[in-house]
Symmetry: C2
């Protein structure tokens, strides 16, 4: 039930198309929410019908036409009401950790391959996040003042960064652990 609020939340900052929203969900806010376009478009239709958003059809020549969605006053009210609602808890599904859980019963090299793959992704994405934080600070988004509309985005970005760092740290530590296991196995095998 909170996809609608995620959409309203994103639209509360800026008007966007369904396509833009989809991109947000797998980049900027991807670390705390995600959704595919096939889920987003129907929900936008619902929100429109309920009057929580409106859209303007923008005709384009060199690209497909698009619908730019804007949150309405009712939409903002609904969002505000939701904020003060007893919070559903965070959920995580991490198949990598599930694989690590059973690492004792498989060739540690298999797990290592997966860890290294994920690690490479995280290194890349980590750099992008750090860059984003610097830019946000430069833009003054970190000022804790009531007029600073960018503070919320900055705070979530900061959370993403800390989480990301912790995960990277763990990845590196894990890789080192399993490398030692592999070494020990090689020695015993000879």
């Amino acid at each position: 039930m909170s996809l609608r609020f995620a959409l309203l939340g994103l639209l509360a900052r800026e008007s966007l198309t369904g396509y833009d929203l989809t991109k947000r969900f797998d980049s900027t806010v991807g670390f705390f929410w995600s959704a595919k376009h096939s889920q987003i478009y129907p929900e936008l239709a619902n929100l429109t019908q309920e009057g929580l958003v409106t859209y303007e059809l923008v005709t384009q020549t060199s690209k497909p036409n698009k619908k730019v969605y804007t949150i309405t006053e009712e939409g903002r009210a609904a969002l505000r009401a939701w904020i003060d609602t007893p919070g559903d808890r965070r959920t995580v599904k991490d198949p990598l950790l599930m694989r690590i859980w059973v690492v004792g019963m498989v060739d540690p090299n298999l797990a290592l391959r997966q860890l290294r793959e994920v690690s490479a992704e995280y290194e890349k994405r980590g750099a992008a996040l750090e860059q984003a934080e610097l830019e946000a600070r430069a833009a003054g988004a970190d000022r804790p003042t009531p007029d600073n509309m960018g503070l919320g985005a900055f705070m979530t970005l900061r959370c993403g960064l800390l989480q990301h760092q912790a995960y990277r740290e763990w990845l590196n530590w894990s890789i080192a652990q399993l490398e030692r296991v592999v070494e020990a196995t090689a020695k015993a095998g000879v």
Copy 2:
């Protein structure tokens, strides 16, 4: 599709009932996987039918009877095959962060209430995690040797701990940020 592998993974370490599995999913492995009993029981039935697990019916007098599930050799093989499968990525849904994202448009006190509530939970759970890590170390689960069957569980626990610490750190920082906003608002309001 990976609930089945999560179940097989848990059963690879020890034989458990559906009820036990449910508890694991909202405590020990809860930070990287979760499922309700209504999803678990039918999946156990499927796994039984496919021969990946078997169960033994244990009759009890002072408690309801139970089915203790054990992974089969085929089950272990299926799990091993899955480990080396191209990994689905981690997904997160965090309604708290969604609320923070839009904090600029609401009374920061509302957000503060939510943050403090979550913070209290995290402090409590953090202590439990730290305790668990100490015990695991004492039991030698941290040795990176091929014979150490507990290493996988220790590694995931460590990940949980690091993630948890990062989140707590962020919660405290966030609370401080919003307190400053509230102060600034009070000053301006007078």
